[in-house]
């Protein structure tokens, strides 16, 4: 597979959220606004790319049977880095993403790519894969966040699109996350066909 297809498949055809349904928890949990979605997406992308890189580099030195724990350590380290950096430089985003930053560790997407791709491929394509998947993930989260923000409060990235008395609170709250994701998946399925 060329690097280009490795990169683009994550965007739509194998979009981690809409098609592969990976990492549903952060997907639903943090997307109250487009900005949160984007932030979470980028944080995940960072972890994804870095851990893919490191894992593809060290994969030769790891005995098969401790593969998973080693990957977890690597991933968890990058998550902690993100956590610390965010606390230092983006404290308000960190606050709104809350619990879901440490939970990047268990995001199936990250470990899944490590297992399925980085542990079998060279460093460059692993990075590209991580980047593609990460951007696909960020894109999905941003779209979801934007949709919820727009429907829920009439805003988009905090900008006023229509009067907020038209906002339907439900979409900011838990049920709205499920609804919007459900119908977005429906739409993406239609497009992919």
């Amino acid at each position: 597979m060329s690097n280009i297809t490795t990169f683009t498949k994550g965007l739509l055809k194998e979009n981690p959220v809409f098609v592969l349904l990976l990492g549903m928890c952060p997907t639903l949990g943090v997307t109250t606004t487009a900005f949160n979605g984007l932030g979470m997406g980028l944080a995940t992308t960072f972890v994804l790319v870095m851990s893919n890189l490191v894992i593809s580099l060290i994969k030769g030195g790891i005995p098969d049977k401790v593969r998973i724990p080693s990957f977890v350590v690597v991933i968890a380290s990058f998550v902690t880095v993100v956590e610390l950096a965010m606390q230092a430089y983006l404290p308000s985003l960190f606050e709104s993403l809350g619990l879901f930053i440490p939970l990047i560790v268990v995001n199936c997407l990250v470990l899944g790519r490590a297992e399925a791709f980085a542990s079998k491929n060279k460093a460059l394509s692993s990075v590209v894969d991580g980047l593609g998947m990460g951007i696909g993930f960020s894109l999905a989260l941003t779209i979801l966040g934007a949709a919820r923000e727009l429907l829920g409060s009439g805003l988009m990235f905090g900008l006023k699109i229509f009067d907020n008395s038209f906002g339907m609170l439900v979409f900011v709250l838990a049920p709205g996350a499920f609804f919007v994701l459900g119908y977005l998946i429906l739409i993406v399925n239609r497009i992919n066909k």
Binding site: G167, M168, L169, V170, F171, L173, P175, F179
Partner: protein
């Protein structure tokens, strides 16, 4: 003989029930309630009802025709009924666009996403209502005072519901009896002279409808009566334990959407259990959750949520509350 004979498996005769007859039967049973709400809330009631019914039917039509591309079945009356019941769950001064959104949610998400009549697991009208309640809490909780045709559609003078006032009062640590003094009398509650959603105010009109549906065998007594009994007993116990913070059971029976919910919403066949045993379990659940929410929750009103929650349990009830099979006892014994 020129004409060909029809051949089909038995039975060759069919009873007189039909989906349409049942649905329009319920619509008819709701007429006293409609009359009462028009009497109490004037033009607003008419507008809300019309908008809700028309948009429910229209959305159903559009979805069936253009999205699902299936047969159009708006004549079966279920969309009309959903519209009517949704309307009865709304304040009579709700802006038109909100009503339309609610109708859209009820039909598109609550019903057609599952495939239409008979497929849905949650009561569509309640889904629409709860959706609006959560989305537009402001508009959904300002009820106009019942002033007949003097009630203006927009900018009506708003008054709280008895339940709302009760909750408010209890939060301010007033005692129940003090609050009751400021509220309409039980007779008014029974007749419907109080603030609230359009269809829920007049207990008598709702009971008339109940009687009609029982007579026509559209529904059985199990669900409404069990709900009433559960609420009465549970609230009664609370009231006995602490009559200063827990209102008397009759008050709870007559106020809020309890009657409307128990008689017309919990009984929705699609979303309620199939067997009588199941219905009783379901109704006890509704009663208990309603009382819990009303007394301890954030909402003064709880039956919609209670029905919605119990709707979710219906498949499990159906799975385990099987009818008693003929010949089963002996088999086991």
């Amino acid at each position: 003989m020129s004409k060909l004979l029809n051949v089909s498996p038995s039975p060759h005769v069919a009873g007189s029930y039909s989906v349409q007859k049942i649905m329009y039967g319920v619509v008819f049973a709701l007429m006293p309630t409609l009359a009462a709400s028009v009497y109490f809330f004037g033009f607003g009631a008419i507008i809300v009802t019309l908008v809700s019914v028309i948009s429910c039917v229209l959305f159903e039509f559009l979805i069936q025709k253009y999205i699902l591309k299936s047969e159009v079945k708006i004549y079966d009356g279920s969309a009309v009924l959903t519209g009517l019941i949704l309307a009865f769950n709304l304040p009579s001064n709700l802006p038109v666009w909100i009503i339309i959104l609610g109708a859209f949610f009820a039909i598109a998400v609550g019903k057609m996403s599952f495939g239409g009549l008979g497929q849905n697991v949650f009561n569509p009208a309640i889904a629409g209502r709860v959706f609006l309640l959560i989305s537009f809490p402001v508009q959904m909780t300002s009820w106009p005072k019942p002033m007949g045709f003097a009630t203006k559609y927009v900018d009506a003078i708003t008054g709280a519901t008895p339940l709302g006032k009760m909750k408010e009062g209890i939060m301010n640590s007033q005692s129940v009896s003090d609050i009751m003094m400021q509220l309409p009398s039980q007779i008014d509650n029974f007749l419907g002279y109080m603030g609230g959603s359009m269809g829920e105010v007049s207990a008598i009109a709702l009971l008339l409808g109940f009687a009609y549906m029982l007579l026509r065998k559209i529904i059985t007594w199990h669900i409404p009566v069990t709900i009433f009994a559960t609420v009465f007993v549970f609230q009664g116990v609370l009231n006995i334990v602490d009559s200063a913070t827990y209102a008397p059971p009759v008050f709870h029976l007559l106020t809020g959407g309890l009657m409307l919910g128990a008689i017309f919403m919990a009984t929705d066949m699609v979303t309620s259990p199939m067997t009588h045993k199941g219905m009783v379990i379901y109704s006890i659940g509704i009663g208990v959750i309603t009382v819990l929410i009303r007394n301890f929750g954030a909402y003064p009103e709880g039956i919609s949520f209670a029905i919605l929650i119990m709707n979710a349990i219906v498949p499990i009830i159906n799975k385990y509350a099987k009818p008693k099979r003929f010949g089963e006892v002996i088999n086991n014994g």
